[in-house]
């Protein structure tokens, strides 16, 4: 590296805060920046799931079973007026498939901020308004199915919205939990070293040496099955995080080992700060950035774990709705063969996982250009 360039950043440390520096480096990673936006978008969905959904995700109707995604016509004549056609459906006596034919004569106009089922916006404001909908809301004879319906005739789009909410919050909770574990244990391990370190490191190694699936099955099976969906939901996050913290702990420990002897820590010790204080007031903040990066990178794992757990029938199970549940219900031959749209929930999973990865990489590169 040319001397000058090497000099440049350090020079600026005096003027620029660590965060500004991170931001500068982060900006370089275009993909990460873009991913950041995507992630933001996802969490907006989490907040506004019930607003974006236009149908009650649980309402089933045999006569709408396995309806393919409806085509949206944006212009009615010349002026903007999105609508979909009415549909007639029946089971084909020969193929036993349900077939739907559009009835061009029936136009179902899509209304914005339309009346629909009741919910509390952000869990506070009770309302019946939804981003889109049809006249007459739920009781309407004709409705819209942007992404089609599942076997029970439930609207996939709406279910996807709710699924996103659950899956992404699960991820977040899980990460938070493992973050706490990771920082505390990793911190202790790195700060004290010696016996503490060995013990914690062994634990980590053991945890990592046991194939995850049996661990999941064991733990998941151990928790009472008569728990309510909510309890299961939390239990699952805890389980996932119980296995998720090791990576974070490793990062934190590494940092600690690096910093243990650094002046400001030593001085903090000298002025007689209690050790915990030293750790959490002086050391942790100094590598927040790394923790954030590591956390972001842990999220995709959480999401994937959630889907895998559901696949094994251990995670959230219906009537709960999550990405995992939706995918698990799409995990059969007939879906692939005759109702492929039910596999759409895989898309947000893919996008989210990648977005979080790139964001995380970007953050990490920014946090320390040489860091692993």
């Amino acid at each position: 590296m040319a001397v000058v360039v090497a000099v440049a950043p350090e020079q600026r440390v005096f003027v620029a805060s660590q965060w500004q520096l991170m931001w500068w480096r982060f900006r370089k990673h275009k993909l990460a920046v873009a991913s950041g936006v995507v992630v933001l978008g996802f969490y907006l969905v989490v907040l506004g799931a019930d607003f974006l959904a236009y149908a009650d995700p649980d309402v089933s109707e045999a006569q709408r079973s396995l309806m393919p995604p409806q085509r949206v016509y944006w212009f009615d004549g010349w002026q903007f007026g999105p609508y979909v056609h009415g549909f007639k459906g029946a089971r084909d006596p020969q193929t036993f498939k349900r077939v739907y034919v559009a009835d061009p004569s029936v136009k179902v106009p899509i209304r914005f901020f339309a009346e629909g089922f009741e919910y509390r916006f952000l869990g506070l404001i009770p309302t019946t308004r939804h981003l889109i909908g049809v006249d007459g809301g739920l009781d309407a004879s004709q409705t819209i199915f942007l992404l089609g319906t599942d076997v029970q005739g439930r609207d996939l789009w709406s279910r996807l919205m709710y699924g996103t909410r659950i899956s992404l919050t699960i991820g977040l909770l899980g990460v938070t939990a493992s973050l706490v574990l990771g920082v505390v244990l990793g911190g202790l391990s790195g700060f004290y070293g010696g016996v503490t370190d060995t013990i914690i490191q062994r634990t980590i190694e053991i945890l990592r040496s046991i194939p995850t699936i049996p661990l999941w099955m064991g733990l998941a099976a151990a928790l009472p099955r008569d728990w309510s969906i909510l309890q299961v939901y939390f239990a699952i996050t805890i389980i996932i995080s119980l296995l998720g913290w090791t990576e974070l702990a490793r990062v934190v420990r590494g940092r600690f080992l690096a910093m243990r002897e650094e002046d400001f820590v030593v001085s903090a010790r000298l002025v007689g700060c209690t050790e915990l204080r030293t750790i959490f007031v002086h050391m942790v903040p100094s590598f927040m950035s790394h923790i954030i990066a590591a956390t972001t990178l842990a999220l995709p794992a959480m999401i994937i774990s959630e889907t895998s757990l559901s696949f094994l029938g251990l995670g959230l199970r219906p009537p709960a709705i999550s990405w995992g549940v939706l995918l698990q219900q799409a995990q059969n031959v007939q879906t692939v063969a005759i109702s492929p749209w039910l596999m759409l929930p895989a898309l947000p999973v893919i996008v989210a996982v990648m977005a979080f990865n790139f964001l995380g990489d970007g953050l990490r590169d920014a946090a320390d250009p040489y860091g692993r």
Partner: protein, 334 residues
């Protein structure tokens, strides 16, 4: 001095274009290196010495690039007569010709002897590679040559060393091996970038001694980059003083030490201990300004003792010739 110089750099500008801003690492450097002589380049760290060296070899890392200027280098001809001169600045950095010159005709030794060898290849293999790259002959031959070279640069029991990893060698040994590699193809110009900075004093002198001796044997020119005037005094025939990416003064070594013209040069000389002089040390006032915000006018004016308000901070001084071998850029001499 009738023959044109071996290397003549004219108004070289190497900039680093970064998000944080433009860094003018080298900003219009000009100097000559005559055959067989040693040109010392001095300046505080961050004044663009190394970048200049890398610019000449065309191995400046991204995002740095040469934005202006010429680097005329006279390539040796087969018959020893005056060879053809090329402008390195115009060559393709990784083109065939540049690569033919790099390593073979212009060699580089630099600062970190610790890490300048690959940790996973044997010293030998790395030198052999260089030799076989530029010279005909088989592996066997190259290997013998390598052992020969190592012996010549004073590496003890080269037969074993050849097959050792760099981390098995002491710093001094490594630097010797480094030199061996640099000399492996008999370059006409050797660029030594702070070759001794990382070494302890005794090894320093040994290495310098070695270099001088080798120069006499091979008659190559050396471009010695350092911030250590002591080294300059012992090694250089000519000296170029750099400040903030510019050459502020160039002259024969005696002239620099006994009749320095540029205020910065004088300041430098005052800042170093001298044997047999009671004069107390005067550090240079202030610190090297940050490359992002280089001062207007003469870059040195904020720290200059003879600062003339109105001129120094307005116009930029030109490089003016005082006597046939002495050039300086300062308004005092315009």
């Amino acid at each position: 001095m009738t023959r044109e110089p071996l290397l003549s750099v004219r108004n070289l500008k190497t900039y680093f274009i970064q998000d944080e801003g433009l860094v003018k690492a080298v900003d219009g450097v000009s100097f000559d290196v005559a055959e067989g002589v040693t040109l010392g380049i001095v300046g505080e760290s961050g004044c663009g010495k190394s970048v200049t060296a890398r610019s000449i070899l065309r191995i400046v890392d991204r995002p740095g690039r040469i934005v202006e200027g010429e680097i005329h280098f006279r390539r040796p001809s087969a018959n020893g007569g005056p060879g053809r001169t090329v402008d390195l600045a115009t060559l393709e950095p990784n083109g065939a010709e540049m690569r033919a010159i790099r390593g073979a005709e212009i060699a580089l030794i630099f600062q970190e002897p610790m890490s300048s060898f690959s940790p996973v290849h044997t010293i030998g293999s790395q030198i052999v590679e260089a030799i076989r790259l530029h010279q005909p002959g088989g592996r066997r031959e190259a290997r013998d040559k390598t052992i020969e070279l190592l012996r010549r640069v004073g590496v003890s029991s080269p037969e074993e060393r050849v097959d050792q990893l760099s981390n098995q060698l002491s710093g001094g040994m490594r630097q010797r091996a480094m030199i061996a590699m640099a000399l492996s193809c008999h370059p006409t110009l050797l660029i030594a970038d702070e070759p001794t900075t990382a070494l302890d004093v005794t090894t320093q002198t040994q290495i310098l001694e070695l270099m001088r001796q080798l120069q006499q044997e091979d008659g190559m020119a050396i471009m010695l980059i350092t911030h250590d005037l002591g080294v300059i005094a012992t090694m250089a025939t000519d000296v170029a003083v750099m400040y903030l990416g510019r050459v502020v003064e160039q002259a024969p070594v005696d002239a620099i030490f006994h009749a320095p013209l540029h205020p910065y040069t004088r300041a430098l000389l005052r800042s170093i201990p001298r044997i047999r002089s009671r004069a107390r040390l005067v550090p240079i006032a202030g610190a090297v300004p940050h490359p992002y915000d280089r001062p207007t006018g003469c870059p040195f004016h904020p720290r200059c003792a003879e600062f003339k308000a109105g001129t120094c901070d307005r116009q930029e001084p030109r490089l003016t010739r005082i006597g046939d071998h002495h050039t300086v850029s300062c308004f005092l001499y315009e």
